[in-house]
């Protein structure tokens, strides 16, 4: 008998604008000592179904319309709130996506850790603390004794997720529900956390329900995979079966969207469009404080017509480097030249006129568009500003831009909030292309998007690069994405450039230890 068996579960949310069926007749199960992964994009209902298992759906607006959730022979949906509470944190524990916000910032780590023990087992504080320290040690927290009296903000994201895992496991639950536990983490940390979960699962004989949007991540650890879309389960089975022989077209689409393969590098004659010499961009948060050396002595060349992939983890300074080139942040020292012209010396009108030759595409398509401007106004602004078209030809120019980035013409008078993430990113790309730039900095342009949308936008960028003859600095934390689009790769770590070379070189013969670690951390060894 399965440890957890969910049958025909339906959940809806009742709002003023009507009823939204978030989960529709969903069935799946978790066997003892196995990992079942639910895969889906945003809005697929994967998280909602798991919260429903624990009775954590806020009601109202949430409402469970039907179905059964059997856990160890007991229908959880039929239990009273008090009976459910006795199971939560004792037999079923949960870890969440964003470790930065999931720990109480006002409470010491130790006090939060022992809460499940004192609550469910009536254990005395002293004994509970000893057990908590042992567990912190097990999840590889250095100096667990000191960690007990620390506050969450003193820990990094990866460390906090370890604390969350310790807290979930402290009562030796039978089932662990993990809701995108590694999505908010850097690649190398993600690899560590995944390894930790897999180890603990075997060591402690627990069943795991693992929710993720990332097929590659799941392929490494799952025993069963369930694919969800729009509140429905499309298919399920062993990972190998899903990867080798996907039945449902959506699954096929998901698999196809996994960034894979390597760009057929077009041999570029080394003709440097941009030369960066000993660039330093330091920030001084408050007067007198130690400066943050975001970019620290970086020298780099970007050749005409190439896509240079800039990879690094959060805090590596990769975004600051991109913004420094575009003169969006003041540089501390060093030299940037564009076609031999010194960018770092441009000021005022000269800088303004020059700006149309270089543009930027941002990560967050929700923040990069002015919410009070229509698509028309957003695209018209750069065109009119630089006098690139006559007023009479404006409509025609905007229409061409929209066609090029794949936006329906009928959307021209709509506002950003009326579009999906992928569509917004198309508008942002259109705006960047409007000035007919030669060089574009794309800062994590697909990181905020769902996998299938990510694939579409990547294809669009690749096409446009060719069509417009663009040179691009493509910034990403995701090596798989970079591999697909970049001709050359540069790796940044702690403000320094640690390695650069052609995509093939970097992937096949990485020179630096850090690059090797990054490559080893790429999930999906089983997926490829």
């Amino acid at each position: 008998m399965a440890l957890l068996s969910v049958d025909n579960l339906s959940v809806s949310f009742v709002t003023r604008n009507g009823t939204n069926k978030a989960v529709n007749n969903v069935s799946f199960s978790v066997e003892e000592r196995q990992i079942t992964a639910i895969i889906g994009e945003s809005g697929s209902g994967k998280s909602v179904s798991c919260y429903a298992v624990l009775g954590l759906i806020p009601s109202p607006p949430g409402r469970i319309d039907g179905g059964t959730v059997y856990f160890q022979g007991q229908d959880l949906l039929a239990l009273s709130e008090a009976e459910l509470r006795a199971i939560r944190g004792r037999d079923i524990a949960m870890i969440f996506q964003d470790p930065m916000t999931c720990l109480n910032p006002f409470m010491k780590i130790g006090d939060q850790l022992i809460e499940p023990l004192t609550l469910h087992k009536g254990m005395a504080k002293g004994a509970a603390k000893e057990q908590a320290i042992a567990l912190l040690d097990e999840v590889d927290i250095r100096d667990p004794q000191a960690a007990m009296s620390a506050f969450p903000h003193e820990f990094s994201g990866g460390m906090r997720q370890r604390v969350m895992i310790a807290m979930a496991l402290i009562n030796e639950p039978k089932l662990l529900i993990a809701d995108e536990p590694t999505t908010a983490l850097d690649v190398t940390i993600q690899a560590q956390i995944l390894k930790l979960i897999a180890e603990l699962q075997i060591k402690r004989d627990i069943g795991v329900l693992f929710i993720s949007h990332d097929l590659a991540v799941v392929s490494d650890i799952a025993d069963q995979i369930v694919v969800m879309e729009k509140g429905k389960v499309l298919e399920g089975g062993k990972p190998k079966a899903i990867f080798d022989n996907p039945q449902h077209p959506y699954t096929q689409k998901l698999l196809a969207a996994i960034p894979s393969g390597q760009k057929a590098t077009n041999p570029v004659a080394p003709d440097p469009l941009i030369r960066i010499k000993h660039l330093r961009t330091w920030f001084t948060p408050t007067a007198g404080a130690e400066p943050v050396k975001a970019v620290n002595d970086v020298s780099l060349e970007i050749h005409r017509g190439e896509v240079l992939g800039l990879v690094g983890e959060s805090g590596s300074g990769k975004s600051t480097l991109g913004r420094s080139i575009l003169r969006l942040v003041p540089i501390t020292s060093g030299q940037i030249t564009f076609e031999g012209m010194e960018l770092s010396a441009l000021e005022g009108r000269a800088l303004k006129q020059f700006r149309h030759r270089m543009q930027m595409i941002f990560q967050d398509p929700y923040a990069s568009l002015n919410p009070r401007m229509t698509v028309y106004d957003t695209l018209a602004e750069p065109l009119l500003l630089h006098g690139l078209v006559r007023t009479a030809d404006l409509d025609q120019a905007i229409r061409e831009l929209m066609d090029n980035v794949g936006l329906a013409r009928t959307f021209v008078r709509k506002y950003p909030h009326e579009f999906s993430g992928g569509q917004r990113q198309r508008i942002a790309i259109g705006r960047a292309l409007a000035t007919r730039p030669e060089f574009i900095v794309a800062d994590e342009p697909v990181s905020a998007l769902d996998v299938t949308i990510q694939a579409q936008i990547l294809n669009l960028l690749a096409e446009l690069t060719k069509e417009y003859g663009l040179t691009m600095l493509f910034i990403s934390h995701d090596l798989a994405v970079i591999r697909q689009i970049a001709d050359r790769i540069a790796v940044m770590y702690h403000g320094k450039l640690v390695e650069q070379g052609s995509t093939a070189q970097v992937f096949e013969t990485p020179q630096q230890e850090y690059t090797q670690a990054l490559l080893a951390a790429i999930p999906g060894a089983n997926a490829a």
Binding site: R323, H356, F362, P371, E381, R409, F411, H417, R431, T435
Partner: protein
């Protein structure tokens, strides 16, 4: 830029954030009621000289204080003056103080906050430090002091109240501008090459307007309270002019015998404050303005 030529003749009409906010506000009955009552009060105040049932000076000493009747709907005060007329004229002053002092606060606060927020760095630090210092001053006491020293001058009252209220407005505006400045769409505007003036006009102001509208609506009642407070103490509006605060203070003196002299002006003030607060809260929800932590 609404000249959508034949190229886009089949374009669907978008729904701006302002339009969405209006749709949300329209569903909020309390806020609509507040808005209507406020509108009514303002119209009455504007038309008072023409529609008041009696003249402002008219006394009827023989009548004295009389309970509400057909001739005097809200009764008369101890000099036999019509209470409705008094409340209407008092409302003119109370509302005028509310709106004008708020306008003063708005003008100073928004400019100050926007400049500090946009300039950033040292300029911002100095400007906001000044606001912090002024914030720590006990202004209520200062206004009392001002009124004592310079006599009870209505113009001074506007300035004094405005000078207190601009501080909050400046903080709100600054935090707005500062958070907007870090938004990627402003960075995008910079990278397109837009001048600072154009960025402020096209990208910052339209997005900062919502909170300003909300806090303006919520500042008016607090200004009116302040005026009524001072007038009650005898430090605000002086006879022969009158305001709701002054009427309440007269009413409180004689409430034992003539409770209506307290209750009716009290109702007028409370009703107006209610309307403004409900409208302000409704606007806050409709425009999706987060509570400021200041």
């Amino acid at each position: 830029m609404n000249t959508v030529a034949p190229v886009f003749e089949d374009a669907e009409k978008g729904s701006s954030l302002w339009h969405d906010a209006w749709l949300r506000l329209r569903k909020n009955k309390l806020a609509l009621l507040g808005g209507s009552v406020l509108l009514f009060m303002v119209v009455v105040a504007l038309l008072t000289p023409w529609i008041a049932p009696y003249s402002y000076e008219a006394q009827n000493l023989d009548l004295g204080a009389s309970a509400p009747s057909a001739a005097h709907w809200l009764g008369t005060d101890i000099f036999g003056r019509d209470m409705l007329t008094q409340i209407m004229y008092g409302g003119r002053i109370s509302l005028a103080v509310g709106f004008i002092a708020t306008a003063v606060a708005l003008l100073i606060g928004v400019t100050w906050g926007a400049v500090a927020g946009y300039a950033g760095g040292r300029v911002d630090a100095v400007m906001m430090r000044l606001v912090d210092i002024l914030y720590a001053l006990p202004f209520m006491i200062f206004i009392v002091l001002l009124m004592v020293v310079f006599g009870r001058n209505i113009l001074l009252l506007f300035l004094a109240i405005g000078a207190v209220e601009w501080l909050t407005m400046a903080r709100i505006m600054r935090s707005q501008v500062q958070s907007l400045r870090q938004q990627e769409f402003v960075e995008a505007a910079v990278s397109v090459g837009l001048s600072p003036a154009a960025i402020i006009r096209k990208h910052l102001i339209p997005n900062a307007l919502g909170p300003v509208i909300v806090y303006t609506t919520l500042t008016i009642p607090s200004v009116m309270l302040l005026e009524a407070f001072l007038s009650f103490l005898g430090l605000g509006i002086q006879p022969p002019a009158t305001s709701w605060g002054l009427l309440i203070s007269y009413g409180a003196e004689t409430m034992e015998e003539y409770p209506w002299l307290l209750i009716f002006p009290g109702c007028a003030l409370t009703l107006t404050l209610f309307s403004l607060n409900f409208l302000g809260d409704g606007l806050r929800d409709a425009l999706d303005v987060r509570g400021s932590k200041d």
